[in-house]
């Protein structure tokens, strides 16, 4: 019965996709927005993008563009691409990928120029924008990778927030006690795994609804870390809170690579967590789509019964993946207390675990897609904090909404169709 249900669902989706006008409509709305906002209401003057920092070895001149002219150009291209998308939809029902990609790129450029041109200073340092974005991107990305690992195997992971928080707390505690940041890092991974153990125990062994388990685990970890924070970390020994002064992970710049403008300071002047993150994304993508392990994991997530039939142990695969996801998210949590800030504070993850979930969905359960989504959300988040100081045409709160709004558009099929692995969230009971 469940098989018939599943074979039917994609058919319906196809039928809808044959001539969906959602995308042309969306592009039309965005084009209209760009005409009105970029041209009619657009800022006069220029927008300056500072590429090099004063300390850089190679100096690249600043990029100065006239705001209104760029806005007009962006609007013209946007309207043209919308017309193309409309024609393609009418003729074949499908829109070429490059149309949507170039529309997104052009539109993002337009928004950036419009925002920067509208600030009081009319300039922005791109290095600051991207390097600062990594502070937000890194935990999102680790959280999203945790989600990729468990959801590709068919276990919904709403507990990312809890895994991050557990990692952040444990890393701070252990790094404070041992005085060794690497010990804190390992402990954080263990803490993430412990949260995952609960997730796996309840959702796989006791077959509790996975969403319920995830929601409850977040509350549990928040309460537990909050309680222990009050009881242990706030305890003063000799006038100092010794249990909340973690040692920090050093930055390890890579020679030469770290001197590349923008990319260098963003990617190659990081702590070990940052480099691990780059390797992890590549490894997960390769592992999932190019190895036997990945094929098995995806089979378990898409059609557990078939996987079981060919001799894959479904629940063992799921448990292993959920636990691995916990370790990854735990390390991401360690980033908060070992790299980003100097100590733990209550509920310090502040919903980034849910943005990670958003990145996972917006990136279509693909490691690279999720990584790019995490970068986008990180840049948007950092732009918001930069702009809150500069006075802008757009309120920072709307940038804060961006990840969530994009995710809603993605799951409802306006921005491509974001489909979860078929058996995501469904427990598997061997008959």
């Amino acid at each position: 019965m469940s098989i018939t249900a599943k074979s039917e669902t994609p058919k319906v989706a196809d039928a809808v996709a044959i001539r969906s006008w959602k995308m042309p409509i969306l592009l039309g709305i965005l084009s209209l927005f760009s005409v009105v906002v970029f041209i009619i209401l657009g800022p006069s003057g220029t927008a300056t993008f500072r590429i090099s920092q004063d300390t850089d070895a190679w100096q690249v001149p600043d990029l100065v563009v006239p705001a209104k002219a760029v806005g007009a150009l962006v609007s013209i291209i946007a309207v043209a691409l919308t017309y193309l998308a409309w024609r393609q939809t009418r003729d074949s029902g499908k829109i070429a990928k490059w149309v949507i990609t170039s529309f997104s790129v052009v539109f993002v450029i337009g928004v950036m120029v419009w925002i920067i041109g509208g600030t009081s200073t009319q300039n922005i340092t791109l290095v600051g924008l991207f390097a600062g974005a990594m502070l937000i991107t890194t935990p999102i990305l680790f959280g999203a990778m945790s989600g990729v690992l468990s959801e590709r195997a068919g276990v919904v992971n709403i507990a990312i927030e809890g895994q991050l928080l557990a990692g952040a707390f444990t890393a701070a505690l252990v790094a404070s006690i041992t005085g060794n940041a690497y010990a804190g890092l390992i402990a954080a991974a263990v803490a993430g795994v412990l949260v995952s153990v609960l997730l796996a125990l309840f959702s796989i062994k006791y077959v509790v609804n996975q969403i319920i388990v995830g929601v409850v685990l977040n509350v549990l970890v928040s309460g537990l870390t909050g309680f222990l924070f009050e009881k242990i970390m706030k305890t003063k020994v000799d006038g100092a809170t010794i249990y909340n002064q973690p040692a920090h992970l050093p930055n390890l710049p890579i020679p030469l690579l770290s001197e590349i403008p923008i990319i260098g300071p963003t990617l190659f002047r990081q702590s070990i967590i940052g480099y691990f993150m780059l390797i992890l994304v590549a490894a997960l993508w390769f592992g999932l789509f190019r190895t036997r392990w990945g094929l098995r994991v995806r089979a378990v997530g898409e059609h557990p019964k078939a996987a079981d039939t060919v001799g894959i142990n479904v629940n063992r695969t799921r448990v292993i993946n959920v636990l691995a996801g916990g370790a990854v998210a735990g390390i991401g949590g360690a980033y908060f207390t070992l790299v980003a800030v100097s100590s733990f504070s209550k509920d310090m993850t502040g919903g980034l675990g849910f943005i990670a979930l958003a990145a996972l969905i917006f990136g279509r359960w693909n490691p690279i897609g999720a990584a790019l989504a995490a970068l986008l959300f990180g840049v948007a988040g950092n732009l918001q904090s930069i702009l809150s100081l500069a006075g802008t045409p757009i309120d920072g709160q709307f940038l804060a909404m961006l990840p969530y709004a994009l995710t809603i558009l993605a799951v409802s099929g306006f921005v491509g169709r974001s489909l979860a692995p078929a058996a995501d969230g469904e427990p598997y009971i061997k008959e």
């Binding site: 019965m1 469940s2 249900a5 599943k6 669902t9 989706a13 709403i158 609960l198 309840f202 006791y206 077959v207 509790v208 609804n209 969403i211 319920i212 388990v213 929601v215 409850v216 685990l217 977040n218 509350v219 549990l220 928040s222 309460g223 537990l224 909050g226 309680f227 222990l228 924070f229 009050e230 009881k231 242990i232 919903g351 849910f354 979930l357 958003a358 969905i361 309120d395 709160q397 709307f398 804060a400 909404m401 969530y404 709004a405 995710t407 809603i408 799951v411 409802s412 099929g413 979860a420 078929a422 058996a423 969230g425 469904e426 427990p427 009971i429």
Partner: protein, 436 residues
């Protein structure tokens, strides 16, 4: 399929078909998105049609109710262990455990009884307190319970249709925002003003819930994802409004001006207590939701959709309309919770108006086994935890976070009956619940 007399036989026919569904393949086949919620459609709970009293008794006597009680006990025990383990007196006594083992047990007892004693007194009656409010904590319990009842009902109602409304938080915020806009921007005569505030709050919540229902019905977007995202959008939206249109001109913080007196719920027991007429709204809502689910045609459709959306569709029900309307009503209930928060206790709108109520609502609905009256009592229990937790934090120096730990443990244990059974070695005659 319209009159109540048609409902009875139709439902009896539907029941047996839903029971094997849930025992053979969990998570309701045919709808991969439907969560198998305990006590929600799909679980083999037999409907009792004879008198209400005996039904209540039977529910309490049934294994499910016992599991709920045991889950609370186990969660409190684990909470107690945490409290004792982090108490300095206990760790000191442990230092000379082999010299004087009784000292350890005494310290553990002192630590746990102090904390839970303060919790109990804070939630019910504390003869030692100096203020009336502190002495009769039971009214604080009811004050905290009021928004929990309403938001718990919101989650419960959606559960019964097989939808997981995690968006109570956003719906509370939107409800409070709409209510606030009417409450402090507009002047109206007393009575009418409060009524307008209530309606506005319900509309605000319904809009936010309706978005999720509409997207679920029209595009198949998973309501869990959409409602989570809407929660965060709501926070940003209200922050924006509080910095601009709804800002208190006399304050530098993003908060609203105070509600007009005419827009506020009257206090039930005078100025010494915070308990307000919002509780009456909440109790009425319990009756209405109870009637809606158990007696109305709409409720019958809801339960049928929740049990098996494909069968409901075959039977000629509009599943998509069911999703939209239930999320509208669910959102309206959560919006009302926002109204009681704003017009009852907080009086000033800020971005944290929902607090933890949104997520507490989920735990309340689960503890209440997604039944209206179950939700009511669960909300009172969690209200007691909140009221008592405050007094515990002050009088026993135990952080209120322990309450969140206990609450989440309760839900975990309730959601996994086999675990509770194995802890207490309860034998079950009929294998139920393993599928939940």
């Amino acid at each position: 399929m319209s009159g109540p007399e048609v409902n009875k036989p139709a439902e009896e026919a539907a029941e047996p078909s839903s029971t094997p569904t849930s025992t053979s393949v969990p998570g309701a086949p045919g709808n991969p998105g439907t969560p198998g919620v305990p006590g929600a459609p799909g679980s083999p709970v037999k409907p009792e049609r004879e008198g209400g009293g005996s039904q209540l008794v039977r529910e309490i006597m049934s294994g499910n109710a016992m599991i709920s009680v045991l889950a609370v006990v186990v969660a409190l025990v684990i909470g107690g262990i945490l409290i004792a383990a982090t108490d300095a007196r206990v760790t000191t006594a442990l230092g000379y455990f082999f010299g004087d083992p009784t000292a350890t047990f005494k310290a553990v007892w002192a630590s746990v009884s102090e904390a839970y004693g303060a919790l109990w007194r804070g939630a019910t009656y504390d003869p030692g307190s100096r203020t009336w409010k502190g002495r009769l904590g039971i009214f604080e319990t009811l004050t905290f319970a009021t928004p929990l009842i309403l938001s718990g009902l919101a989650v419960t109602l959606a559960f019964r249709v097989g939808l997981f409304n995690i968006g109570a938080k956003g719906q509370i915020i939107l409800g409070a925002t709409f209510a606030g806009a009417v409450g402090f921007l507009i002047e109206l005569p007393p009575g009418i003003h409060l009524l307008a505030v209530i309606v506005a709050g319900a509309v605000g919540g319904a809009v936010w819930g309706g978005i999720a229902g509409f997207l679920k019905a029209r595009t198949g977007a998973h309501e869990v994802i959409v409602t989570i995202m809407l929660n965060y959008i709501a926070v940003s939206l209200v922050l924006y409004l509080l910095k601009n249109q709804l800002k208190d001109p006399n304050s530098s913080n993003p908060i609203s001006p105070r509600m007009h007196e005419s827009a506020m719920f009257p206090l039930l027991l005078g100025p010494n207590f915070r308990i307000h007429a919002g509780l009456i709204v909440a109790v009425i809502a319990v009756f209405v939701v109870s009637w809606l689910l158990e007696r109305s045609t709409l409720g019958f459709e809801y339960r049928a959709i929740g049990a098996n959306p494909r069968a409901a569709r075959t039977a000629g029900m509009l599943v998509s309309r069911g999703y939209i309307t239930v999320m509208l009503i669910s959102g309206a209930l959560a919006g009302l919770a926002g109204v009681t928060q704003l017009a009852g206790t907080e009086k000033i709108l800020d971005s944290d108006i929902a607090g933890s109520i949104g997520f507490d609502a989920i735990t309340v609905a689960l503890l209440g086994r997604s039944k209206p009256w179950g939700t009511f009592f669960a909300a009172i229990l969690f209200g007691a935890f909140k009221a008592g937790g405050t007094s515990m934090a002050i009088n026993a120096d135990v952080s209120i976070d322990i309450v969140a730990v206990v609450q989440s443990l309760i839900v975990l244990f309730i959601a996994a009956p086999p675990l509770v059974r194995s802890i207490f070695r309860i034998k079950v005659a009929r294998r139920v619940g393993a599928n939940i």
